[in-house]
Structures are given as structure tokens and as C-alpha cells.
Symmetry: D2
Subunit: 352 residues, 4 copies
């Protein structure tokens, strides 16, 4: 009954198998090896066009370096108030960008709206040096609340970004989960909707350590290898990262693990609702945010379930936990089994 996070499991079998398979012989270091080149080709195929792809060590590094590629002195980045870049990266984006400011855009369930974004940007008119200047917009797909932007919603945010001539970044730490939900192509969910640069996360969906910055805006990718190296994010034996990506992509493995995780989340949500509980927001990826009585939560913990409290204070009034309730976060992944889900639901007693 482990629903603590999607980074508590190890690597999926196909990923581990690829890593083992490539552990022989010599290969050039620092991304000059044939496997890294072959994975780059796979990215081109997946996105149906030439992309510039750079493997890095962590999702935080991917986000911060992607934003750094567009940073300006006095630059301002717009992101959701609950976004990972704003809340969970210990100022890595601020540091890597030479002090760009991250402005929190409000919005329900992790999503900015064109209006909330436009309103936040309006505080930074062009040409007022004191306030700094707009530099980028960053959205998260799927969001920190497990919701997913539709293609139209992404395009609408792009329109706002483009109206101020700044790029659109997508934090895709849970890219595959969102993709599985939308059922569209990777190209549709990114550059065709206006995304300029993507943090492509594979770690949460079945790798050990496989993250990449993917540029659709090839001009902005120029010189990115120096940004990566200056941050200490160029692996010497990059083969170990590339091998994971090979295993991740082959035979559509990544789509399978994401679809599985999403399905487990839906199962959980249905069961919770059947037991009289509710969820804070729609379940659209691999996260469920149940609102339960605190007594239920304690009971679940006592039974060994791993799940965490989540700040619910910014939820809309109609949803916000009451004094004896608690908002929780549950995350599923490739390793989650239906037995885990059943065990959890069996433990969950109706609120009394």
C-alpha cells in the first residue's frame, strides 16, 4: 500500500534490462557514444521532427536549465503558484538563471488560465526597467494536482506568452501520464500546441535517473551544452542514461507504464468515492487527492498505508477540507498493483 510518490520504486524491467544489456565494451564519454546518438534519433521520431535533446541528472536540473536558456537579466518567469519550479526546487531556477524572478500565477488545481496568466504578466509592462521584464512562461503537464491541460488550454497559454514574445516551457515530469490521458501524439501535446522547450521526465515513470531537456526551438538550443556543463550536469558515462531511455521507449514501454499508473489512480479514486470519500479535483493522471476524515487517515497509516498530507488551503471554498478533514496525496506508478489498490480500499473504512 505504498502511494507515497512515484519516485519510491526502482526501475521498470525493460529499463533495467536495457541498462544491463549495454554494460559491456567501450564507448566514448560525454554523450559522444552511439547509444546517446541513437536515443536522440528516437526523440526525433517520437516528436515527428528534429529536436535538440540534452540528457541531464534530475528534473530540477532540466527545468532550471531549460529556463536558463531563455533567461535575461531582470527576467521574470510565470508559473503556477503550486508548480515544482516555484515550490520544490530550492531556488535552482533562480540560481541557474542569474536571479530571474518566478511569479506565482493563481489557478485552481494546478492550472494557470489565460486570464490569470495575462493578469500576472500585466504587472510587468515592457520597458519599465525597475520591474524587470517578462522572460518565459512555464506550465506543468500533468500538474502538481494530477490534472492535465487540454491541447486547447496549452494553445491558449501559448497565445498569451506569444503576445509578450516569450517562450512556453513545459515541465513534463509526468509527461507520459498526461499523454496517456489525452491520447494524442507527443507532437500534438508540445510543439504543435506551442511549446518551445520541454523538460522530459522519465524517472517517475520507470527509470532510475533519466531526464532530458528537449528543444523544439532549435535556435535556443545553441550553446546549451555549455549551460549543462557549467551546471555540472554532463555525465561522463552518459551511456547509462541513454540506455535507460532506450529501454523506456522500446516497444512503447513508456506508454504502457503510464497507462497502467493512470488506471490504478482511477481505480483508487472510484473506490474512495464508493466509500463515501471525495477527491479534491479530477483524477486525470497518476495522482489522487482524497479528502478524508482525519480519523480515516490515521487508521490508514496505522495499517501501513503510505500516503501524505497535502496543503489544501488554497482549494476552492466548496472543496476545502473542513476542520476534521485532511487533504491527502496518493501517487501511483508502474509498480503499483491492483492488489495494492484493493488492500488500500479494503482498509479504508467509511467515515463515521
Amino acid at each position: 500500500m505504498n502511494f507515497a510518490s512515484d519516485n519510491w520504486a526502482g526501475a521498470a524491467p525493460a529499463v533495467m534490462s536495457a541498462l544491463t544489456r549495454h554494460n559491456t565494451g567501450y564507448a566514448p564519454a560525454y554523450t559522444s557514444d552511439p547509444l546517446t546518438e541513437s536515443v536522440a534519433q528516437t526523440f526525433n521520431e517520437i516528436f515527428e521532427r528534429d529536436v535538440a535533446v540534452f540528457q541531464v541528472a534530475t528534473g530540477t536540473a532540466a527545468n532550471a536549465l531549460a529556463l536558463a536558456a531563455y533567461a535575461k537579466p531582470g527576467g521574470v518567469v510565470f508559473c503556477h503558484r503550486d508548480s515544482h519550479v516555484q515550490v520544490d526546487e530550492c531556488n535552482c531556477p533562480e540560481f541557474m538563471t542569474g536571479g530571474n524572478k518566478l511569479v506565482s500565477v493563481p489557478g485552481d488545481f494546478g492550472k494557470m488560465t489565460p486570464d490569470s496568466l495575462r493578469s500576472s504578466m500585466s504587472a510587468f509592462p515592457d520597458g519599465v526597467v525597475h520591474h524587470g521584464r517578462v522572460a518565459a512562461v512555464s506550465l506543468t503537464q500533468a500538474t502538481e494536482w494530477g490534472t492535465v491541460y487540454t491541447l486547447d488550454e496549452i494553445a491558449a497559454l501559448k497565445e498569451v506568452a506569444a503576445s509578450r514574445d516569450v517562450p512556453l516551457h513545459m515541465d513534463g515530469a509526468r509527461f507520459a501520464n498526461a499523454l496517456s490521458t489525452l491520447g494524442c501524439s507527443p507532437a500534438d501535446m508540445t510543439w504543435r500546441a506551442g511549446v518551445d522547450v520541454l523538460s522530459f521526465g522519465a524517472t517517475k515513470n520507470g527509470c532510475w535517473c533519466a531526464e532530458a531537456v528537449v528543444f523544439f526551438d532549435l535556435k535556443a538550443a545553441e550553446g546549451f551544452e555549455y549551460l549543462r556543463k557549467r551546471g555540472g550536469h554532463l555525465f561522463s558515462k552518459n551511456r547509462f542514461s541513454a540506455a535507460q531511455f532506450e529501454g523506456y521507449f522500446e516497444d512503447g514501454n513508456w506508454l504502457g507504464t503510464a497507462a497502467h499508473a493512470n488506471a490504478m489512480a482511477l481505480l483508487l479514486a472510484e473506490g474512495i468515492r464508493a466509500a463515501g470519500g471525495r477527491t479534491a479535483c479530477p483524477v486525470e493522471a497518476n495522482e489522487v487527492f482524497p479528502i478524508l476524515k482525519r480519523s480515516q487517515f490515521e487508521q490508514l497509516q496505522a495499517a501501513g498505508a503510505k500516503l501524505y498530507e497535502w496543503p489544501g488551503g488554497d482549494l476552492p471554498d466548496s472543496i476545502r477540507p473542513s476542520d476534521d478533514e485532511v487533504c491527502l496525496r496518493m501517487v501511483t506508478c508502474f509498480a503499483t498493483t491492483s492488489e495494492d489498490v484493493d488492500a488500500f480500499l479494503n482498509t479504508l473504512k467509511p467515515a463515521t
Copy 2:
């Protein structure tokens, strides 16, 4: 006949085996897992005292973050002119330290001497704000020329550093190779000789991606987790790094791979000398720097040998390559076989 570098091979069997072994079940993320804790204990045992150990993504990150822990506005770091921090890290140390300056200290074969260090430091007297201020001394063990500082030499550099109240950092990308050569304990080669902080490299000696910053100066380690995270160097599934360290250390595997690599280097050097060649400097770890006729180098390349030219312009007059000679670098590792060495030496024809 691959002697290109010690980061061209994959992972040693014991390392890969540990990684596979730990690929099951759930474990807390972000270094809160039991395996990371257990590896931290192993570090304590190896160094015969409490140390503060932080796993990071790359050797460059380890060096830059270690120096950042001691950085000061206007700070100056002293290192050998050929050192990795100075030459091969794309300004990562300068960036992570908020612009500290790295001053190149001269010295034969990759080694600073107390005199050369003292002389370089003398240009930065205390209290002259314009010049900045001394911040740290960084030595590399084994050096970029495959030489090894003796314990007395380390202690002598420490004395100079201490005379200016700055810490001594050791870049241990090839720590095990140096240790094997000296035959001393890890404690002797580090804190007992005055080292305050160590970049402990395991990647070159048989891991995929296993680097750590090890503080003997526990006070300086306070808050280092923020420095690491701010740099994007905190792994979510750190277990994969910890597992490699477990395999690396168990049964003295790391000492075995290092001793083997060193032995292969010595074999190479002897064979080259037997063939009438010479080496630029003593072979004290896993690197050999032969000086050969250019025609010999071309012949070796044509036969498929992988080895690179190395800048020999700063070598002492008596050794520097003549116009028809070339200085080369050859690196051995855990995967180098005596058959590789024999094949190379059989291909090497005496200069004519």
C-alpha cells in the same frame, strides 16, 4: 586496445550486480532511503571517523559544490594550472561559487609545491579588497598527469593553506588509484594529512555514475544539502547511486579494480620503455604519458589503438617532445586486460 579514458567502460560486475539487486520494492526518495544511510555508514568506516557524505551526479559537480561550500565574495581558489577544476569544468566552479577566481599554480607533472603555492598566494595579501581574498586550495589526487602526492607532500600543502586560514580540498576523481599506489589508509591520505573536503570519485574506477562530496570538516557541511539541491544535484531515486557505492565498496572491490588498473599502466610503461620509448613523467596511478615519434602514433592509430595526444608544451625542457615527437595520454581501468596491453605493445614498433 582502448586506452582513451577511464570513463569509456561501463560498470564493473560488482557494481552492476548491486544495482540489479536493489531494483525491487519501494524506498523513500531524496536520500531518505536505508541504502543511502547504510552507504553513509560505510564511508564512516572507510575513513575511520564521522564524515558528512553527499552523493552528487558528476565529478565536476562534486568539485564545484565542495568549493562552493567554502566560497566567499571575492574569493580566490588555488589549484594546479592543469587541474580539472581549472581546465575541464567549463567554469562550473566559478559559477557555483558566485564568481570565485581560480588561480593557476605552476608545478611539474600536475603537482603544486609548497613554494609554488605560497608564491601564488602571496599576490593576494590579506585585507586588500581589490585583489579579493584567499578562499581555498584544491589539489588533485591522483593528478592529471597520473602522479601521486605523497602524504608528506599533502601535509606540506596543507601547511601553506592553513597559514592563510583556508581549507584544503582534494579532487579524488582517481582517489582509489592514488590510494592503491601509496598503500596507506583513506584516513591517512585525507583528513590525517589535512584534507578538509574530498570529491570522492567512483565513476572512473567502475561505477556508472557515483560521485560524492565527503566533508571531514563537519561544520562546513552544514546546509550543504541546500547547495546540492540548488544546483539540481539531489537525485530523487538516490538509491541507484547508493547501490553502486555498495557494490563498489563491498569485499574491497574498489581497491581491487584500482590496483588492477594501476598494474596495467605499469605494464604499459615498461613495455613502452623496453621498445625504446619514454614517458613524460613517473607512472604512479592509471595513466601513462608516452612520448613517441609521430610516425609511431599514426601507426598505432591505424592499427585501431585508442589513445590521445596530450599538450606537452609545459613539460620541463629535458622532457618536452621534439618536433617529430608527440606526447600521448593512455588510461587504464578495471576493464583493461593484459591482452589489451600485449596487443598494444606488439603493435608498437621501435622508432626508426
Copy 3:
């Protein structure tokens, strides 16, 4: 009728006179001159204790460098959402601190309250590396809304800061105006109320270019000269800055100019209210924020009055401008005359 800002006038007579008086002979550069030393003594006297004072080029530099002295990797600074450090410094604080994050604390009329501060800080519990860590609290005295913290209010914010072991910074761009209002001593308004470091602004109150960082926390001042120089903020002929401070302080000139500016602001406010207008908030220093009909504003502009619109969207509901109203900012200074005020009030016609 120029009420555009308190940085549109030149230097007050006493300041200009001191600058002229000290324009002869030679003096050591880079703050080693006797005049800089003498001004440092004056600061000690004014604050009734030893302080460490560093003259810098601008108020933005003073704020950013003061915060940099307390910066930490992953550090978070708490300030009012309308504060100069947050809104008007083009990310200089973020840059100088190596990417510290500035968190906007809400509060009416430019003032944080202990509750709003505590609530903002609670999102950054100790020990959660992802969120970063609390680093400092910065308040502005007088605030951007021309209001003034009472001594008790300052002490209450200090208590919150101290509960998290972080220092209290005061942005004193309008220090003298606030001091004049409170009628207390400089010591009372700063270190006795818990302020650790002060940006002491003299430019707005009658200097050309005279700003200083004043540390009451002498330990934190150690090495600050390197921070200043690294930012390019050490004047060679610092005498020109020191001379301005001498003229500023002598014979209580600074208190006189501040009292005069404050009095002019009160005159303005009374006149505006007499004409049926209202002000957005209490007038406690040298700024007035009238809320007028847009037609009145246009009429004033047509008559040559210099004053600006000010964003009033965050004002409390009961005060916020209606659709045909506009919030304006008027600033008085040493050069404002009662004739200016009269001319303005005579031009101001009652709303129709």
C-alpha cells in the same frame, strides 16, 4: 507643482555646500580618507553605538547587498508584496544573493503584520530542502504607501523573524521621513526594536547620491567590503559620497528636510480632503495617495501638475477606486514649497 517623486530635485544647499567645501586637496581613495572615517563616527553617534557603515551607489544596491550579507543557498526573503526590493529592483536582490527567492507578504498599505508574515513563513518549514529555507525578513520604513511602522510593530515583526532565527532588514530609503513622524531616536527605530541591518537612504531627502548599508549586527558585517566591491559599488573618490553625508547630518539638516517634506504632504492631504477628495491611506511620511475622479486627474495634468497613477487594485474593498476614479501618488521633498502646494490645491476642482 512637481510631486512626481522625491528623486527629481537636486541636492539640498547644505549637501551641495559640503561637497564644494571638500573639493580641494588630496585624500586617499577607496574609503581610506579622513572624511569617510569622520562620517562613520557620525553614524556611531547618531545610532548611539558602534555600527558598521558602508557607503554604496544606490538604494537598490544597499538593499540587495544587505540581503546578500545574509543570503544562503536556497534562501527565502520575506517582504511586503509592494516593497521596493520585490517590485522595483529588477531582480538585483535575487542576483546579488545567488538566487534567493523573495516571497510577497500581503498587508494593507505597505505593511506586513506579524500574522501575515508568520503565515507566509509557515510554507517554509525548517529542514525541507525542496522548499529552500528562511533567510531574512525585510521591511520598508516608511513604506511604499507612505505609512510608518510603529516601534511596537517593528518589534512584533522582529519577534516573528527571531522565532525562525533570521535577521530583520530595514529598507530606509525614506528613513528620515519615518523618523520625523515617530519622533523617536534613530536607535529606537532600528536596533532597539530589533533591526539587524539598515539601508540608510539619504538621496531622496536631499543628497545627490548618498546611500549606506548600516550593520548593527557587527558579525554579519565582516567581509562586507568584499561583497560591495564584487558588486562594483566601492567608489574610488568616496570622499564625494562622504561629503554629502557630512552636509546631510550637520546641524540636524536631515531632520529638517524630512520634517519639511512631511509637513508639505500633510498640507496636501488636508487640502485634498477639504476639496472633497480622499486619500487611500493615512499620510504618515512624505507621500500622499489621493483617489480622485479621472477627470480631476486630467485637469491637473493639463495644468502642469506632475503626479502619477498608482496601482490601487490591492486596496481594501472600502477604499478601492471606482471605475471613474484613479489612485494617484504624490511625493514631497525638501524642495517642495507651500506655494507648490497652494498652486496644486487651487487647481484641484471639486469633483462634479
Copy 4:
């Protein structure tokens, strides 16, 4: 007998007079005032073309920000080993550029040669991410040794810079002194010889605090106002800086003060040679580097002469001070009188 530096005097009469003259009335802040605009026009006239000029607080800021405008992640700046940017700016250039590395180019008497520059650059071939990449070349005119590059010498350095596609920066802290020596136009000494960006210093030659970054490369100047503000270098009452420039330029005052200072330096040098002394290098601007017996130096000091020892260790063998000699630096400025020179020479006794 004060020859300590050219920043020990105050402001020249014409500069002080302009500052006084402009101390009345109101003017927009933050460089929007008519005087700043008028001074910008004067720069256009002086350089016979459109330039982009930005006033800043210090020469260090001018240099560091100019280099920051061309900075790249992993960037490397080439400058003379004795240059101010390398030796005397407390890492401000490294900080402002996000950690660019300053590489010391050797050369006699403060001057790089095309060969020494090319050789230094050759260690940074294009495309080797580990080493970083070339970013800029910075020369000082006049140099730290009081020598002056000829127009051909500047053009030759430009050719080397252009061969690697990097800009040429000129640190013109003593621009006027060099200009006076060459007798050419400001345009000839800068953009016509290939200079892309200039730190135009006026402080040493008669201002209190007047420094500017002048771009001939207008594209690179885009957004520079954000770099300046992010560094805390945008004056609110910029009028006080602009007024100094007005007084500096009017009636050719700046050329007069520079010519005077240069003439005083030549007088000094002649007198020293006449007394049997020698100078370390040609006297081409307003600095003299006498090599005297230590006993002579002590005698001069005892008589109240202000002059400093200067490190002579890198001088060519034929010139380097012997054990009983000392290399000194003497600087003249607008305030130096022939009486000062005579008094000094009268005090100087022949070595015995």
C-alpha cells in the same frame, strides 16, 4: 608631492562648476532627464557616430557590466595578466558574467601582443565543452604600466579577436590620457580600430564619479539597461553624473586635463633620469614607474612624498630591480603642479 594615484584629487573646476550649475529645479529620475540626453548626444559627437552610452557608478562596474553584455555560460575572457579586470576588481567581472573565466595573457609593460593573445586563446578550441569557450578580449588603454597601444596594435588585437568571433572591449579608465598621447580622434582609437565596447572613465581625469559604458556595437547594447539595474548601478538622480560629464567635455576640458597630467609625468621621468634613475618602461600617459635604490625611496617618503611600491617581478630581466632597488609607481593628474614635480625632483638625491 602627492603622486599616489589619480583618484586622490577631487573634481576639476569645470566639473564642479557644472555640478553646481545643474543643482536647481526638478528633472526626471533614472536617466530620463534632459541633461542625460544631452550628454548622450555629446558622446555621439565625440565618437562621430551613434553610440549607446550608459552611465554607471564605478570603473569596475563599467568593466564588469560591459563584459557581462557579452558573457556566455562557460565563457572565457582574455586580458593582460596585470589588467585591472584581472587583478583589481575583486571578481566583479566573474560575478557579473555568471562565472566567466578571466585568462591572463602575458606581455611586457601591460600590453598583450597578437601572438601572446593567439597563444592564450589556442587553449580554448571551438567545440570542446569542457574547456568553455572564448567570449571576449579586453585591453586597457592606457595600460596599468602607463603605456599606450598604437592604433595598429589595437587593430592587430582586434584581428585576433575577430578570428574567433569575439568582441574587443577597451578598459578606458585612462582613456583621455591615451588619446592625448596618440593625438588621434576618439573614433580612431575605438571603433575604427575595432573596439566594440568601451569603459569610458572620467573619474581619474577630473570627475568625482563619472563612468560610462559606451557601445559601438548597438545590437549588444539592447537590454543593457536591465543588466545595469540588476547590478544596482542605475542612479536615481543621474543628473549629478550627467552634469559632471557636461563639465568634463565642454570646451575640451577633458583633453586639457589629460594633456596636463601627461606632461607632468614626462617632466617627472626626465628629472628622474637626469638624476641617474631609470624608469621601468616608456612613459606614455600619466604614470611613471621609476626604479630607485630603496634608500632613495625611503628618503623620499621621509620627506613626505606619496608614491607606492609596485610589483616589478614580471619585468624583463634587463630591467628588473636588483636586490637593493625598488620599483615604484607615480601617478599624475589634473591637479598635479609643476611645483609638485620640482619639489619631488629636488628631494630626489642621486643614488649613492
